[in-house]
């Protein structure tokens, strides 16, 4: 069982500059850029809560809200 469960992405779109780093490096291709070149969550069901988009965002625009799993 994974350490964290995905809850939601908290994206501050006005801070996003559309560099596409999060989109490219997401291992599950959860994120996409919209017609205004801002990131949005296209496939939330695929997210594994690794939070690499949050760590690599140069604009501090992404936060992945997760829930810590209790040990079985």
């Amino acid at each position: 069982m994974a350490k964290f469960t995905y809850k939601a992405h908290d994206i501050q779109q006005e801070w996003c500059k559309g560099c596409g780093i999060c989109v490219h490096f997401c291992p599950k291709k959860v994120l996409e850029l919209n017609e205004k070149n801002k990131v949005f969550v296209a496939h939330p069901d695929k997210c594994i809560a690794c939070r690499m988009c949050e760590f690599r965002c140069p604009d501090l625009a992404i936060e992945v809200i997760v829930e810590k799993n209790n040990d079985p």
Binding site: E14, W15, K17, G18, C19, G20, I21, H24, F25, M52, F55, R56, C57, P58, D59, L60, A61, E63
Partner: protein
């Protein structure tokens, strides 16, 4: 874990270009500080001039935005007067090693307890893409349109030779390693250097046909290797990343304090 408690939100979105690596360094630095749990009041961020130096305006600690290349000199003053503070000096490659080259080697030689984060984007980005001491042989810049004939420094080797007691290198692609290194560097008692290869897609990548931020970060994955790996022996052109130096040496402020204590005793007799 949100890093928003550590930033001055009124200055966001920041001025850095789309895909600039400096934002990733800022992100990692805030995560490292958050994980260490140091009080905001005990952190001082001192920076010089350049894109990288803008970091001090965005973080909600004690900050000093000082002269070009002289950040380490100001930081030395801060640390000497209040040695209990954690002093972090984010610098660009030109700021640290061209304009501030002397301050850099002498701060390292003294082994004063502070953390220098050198964001190496291999160019003077803010002023329009002039070549820096880290641009490297054969690369293009606005001031080297027919390719650069200067060779670059090896920051890790330079810092080791100058006497730094903690030296590490990583890239903006390897963010988790970057956060760990900044944490270690802050905890280390002595002069710590963390070199981060940071992409400048606007003024370095575009001029050298390296693609955008994503392609430059992909190249960090393929052009670097952990220290002492087999891949490095097979291909010496690879850039090593990891901790190069971690040694215990007398720290400057404690040595200075020891002299004060000794002389106090001397006058009491």
């Amino acid at each position: 874990m949100s890093v928003k408690k550590f930033i001055r939100e009124r200055f966001f979105p920041h001025i850095w270009c789309q895909g600039c690596g400096h934002g990733i360094v800022l992100n990692a630095m805030l995560r490292a500080l958050s994980a260490l749990g140091i009080s905001k009041n005990e952190i001082v961020v001192v920076s010089g001039i350049g894109c990288s130096a803008r970091i001090s305006g965005y973080v909600d600690f004690h900050t000093l935005h000082t002269l070009h290349g002289r950040a380490l000199a100001f930081a030395t003053g801060v640390k000497m007067s209040l040695p209990g503070l954690n002093v972090i000096v984010p610098m660009g490659d030109g700021d640290a090693l061209a304009i501030g080259g002397n301050h850099f080697i002498h701060a390292a030689r003294r082994n004063i307890d502070m953390t220098a984060i050198v964001m190496n984007n291999r160019i003077y980005g803010m002023t329009g893409g002039q070549f820096s001491p880290l641009t490297g042989y054969g690369m293009k810049a606005t001031t080297a349109p027919y390719k650069n004939i200067d060779h670059d420094f090896d920051i890790a080797e330079l810092s080791r030779a100058a006497g730094a007691s903690y030296v590490a290198r990583t890239t903006t692609y390897h963010v988790q390693q970057l956060t760990e290194m900044i944490k270690e560097a802050i905890l280390h008692d002595g002069f710590s250097v963390v070199e981060v290869l940071s992409q400048c897609p606007t003024n370095f990548g575009r001029r050298n046909k390296m693609g955008g931020a994503v392609e430059m970060m992909e190249s960090y994955k393929s052009l670097t290797t952990p220290i002492g790996s087999k891949a490095k022996q097979e291909n010496p052109a690879l850039i090593e990343r990891g901790v190069f130096v971690q040694r215990e040496l007398p720290e400057y402020c404690s040595e200075y304090n020891a002299i004060i204590e000794k002389l106090k005793k001397g006058t009491e007799k």
